[in-house]
Symmetry: C2
Subunit: 310 residues, 2 copies
């Protein structure tokens, strides 16, 4: 029942001695989702004792090297480790052509890469399983760039055994109750669902927003997200530089977190120009106190909580 | 007057938590020569506080990912750091086409890459400056692969001032004496060069041999080398596997060092299958005692020494 984010790399374009280029790993129950794959991602995975073979889905935000150059080594190592099951690769359409040309020199791989291009629409559903959906959040950067929103589906409700025994619904009715419907007894009485079930679990969510010009329009797409990563390449006094390079400041990241009503903001993708990053974090906290600056290896869990009853 | 090798990455194909894929850096006086460039090379350079801008010559042994995948990030970062001077890239001919296709997606770079393909010949001179030559040592691997031999040129000799003052040679004669010639006085006396100069400095050398099937024929090409790096992917009892994959065991590396009369043997490119590498080092030392197993970050200097007088 985990919903845990691990920061594999937290630098922007230029790595530093302790910050690798961007890569995040989201674990939802026992499934791993890799989000961006900067140089050295496979090394960070090994350092954190995460087996790369467990990754089946890789989401790429955009085709800039600091978000992609780890793919070559990671996929190659997966092949050398004997992988046979496909890897699903989500990202801008050109990634397919780029990878195929690359593999013309360094391939072939013993497994299939399945490419998924999200297109231009907002909130495009690009991944779905029984527990989770992933939708796209188009960003404003120098090349086609996607943010990704990971959100748990509504889980089936747990029945309150004592109450259910009292009303003795049939199997079909039980399924309906677990889905949230009220129960109607044979004599026509309506039993409210909340009398028969525990309060539902909150649907946990994580939004990954990197790289982008500050865009207040994103707030609506990620409204109420539990955990928001938003790039913060620059400090407040470098806002012009942020605009010119189509990046954000930590204050802008915080403003978006506030507008979206996020639970917690994580900032990263820091420019290597800042020796002391506490300034960027402080500037964000003035606007959105629940902000952390991330480091390689950091882990953030969203706990599984029942929605408070009315 | 330094001649110093730094190990940036010492793993073979699969990196481990503390071994990055292959990369070596040779510093001769104040010039840096990068040899192979596995994933994470630019990160190791930063960790060791070596400015990538100081690298102008990169020698690639072969186009397998664990020797090449760091090039993309390193060259990209050099560009972002504002580099304008060319980078010279030495390696198999296909590297040019591969890089150009890659840069079609992630480039262009603000500096020129000058490609140098060594061809198939032994001892092919591919680099020369006033102090150093680099020649090729063709290897036997699954794709075209080059070893590289770095050797200092004979330095000009230093004059023994007192003696020179006695014979008062002209400027042209002084240059000849510094080059090693005897001096003939105006009255026809032959003054042996060794009376006029200090003994010459030893010409320091480093041979990089990775990846290759064990090939005793290499000994002749690297005869008397001071520092020999030879891949040792496997332990002695995996010799068949070494042959099948066209790699070497640590014993074979040691045998070559012995045959070549090397000063010191460094082994690396270890398979990630061995938890305890001391076995590989011990097996090599039984044959060639002056063997070290290398780790990322290790440094080896060859001191500048005068050749012992006759």
């Amino acid at each position: 029942m985990s919903f845990e984010l691990t920061i594999l790399g937290s630098s922007s374009a230029l790595p530093t001695s302790n910050r690798f280029p961007t890569a995040h790993l989201l674990k939802v129950d026992e499934r791993f989702f890799l989000i961006d794959c900067g140089e050295g991602t496979q090394i960070r995975l090994r350092q954190l004792k995460i087996n790369p073979s467990r990754i089946h889905h890789i989401f790429i935000s955009h085709l800039h090297g600091d978000h992609v150059f780890g793919l070559f080594g990671l996929l190659s190592s997966m092949g050398m480790m004997g992988r046979e099951v496909p890897v699903n690769l989500y990202g801008p359409g050109r990634i397919k052509e780029m990878m195929e040309q690359h593999l013309g020199y360094f391939g072939p791989l013993p497994f299939e890469i399945r490419y998924h291009s999200p297109g231009k629409k907002k909130n495009n559903l690009i991944y779905e399983d029984e527990k989770l959906t992933v939708t796209t959040v188009p960003l404003k950067h120098r090349t086609r760039t996607y943010g990704y929103l990971f959100r748990e589906k509504q889980r089936l409700l747990n029945l309150r055994k004592e109450q259910v025994q009292e009303f003795r619904p049939g199997i079909a009715d039980m399924v309906r109750i677990k889905r949230g419907e009220d129960f109607i007894t044979s004599d026509g009485r309506v039993i409210p669902n909340r009398m028969l079930t525990y309060p539902p679990y909150h649907q946990r969510s994580y939004a990954y927003i990197s790289d982008t010009l500050y865009d207040p329009g994103l707030a609506e797409q990620i409204r109420g997200v539990d955990l928001l990563f938003h790039e913060a390449t620059f400090a407040g006094n470098d806002e012009q530089l942020a605009r010119k390079t189509m990046h954000s400041t930590s204050r802008q990241a915080a403003a978006l977190a506030k507008q979206a009503g996020a639970g917690r903001l994580l900032i990263g993708h820091f420019s290597s120009r800042y020796r002391d990053l506490s300034r960027l974090v402080e500037e964000a906290r003035e606007i959105f106190p629940e902000t952390d600056g991330v480091n390689d290896g950091d882990r953030y869990s969203v706990p599984l909580e029942r929605v408070a009853p009315d």
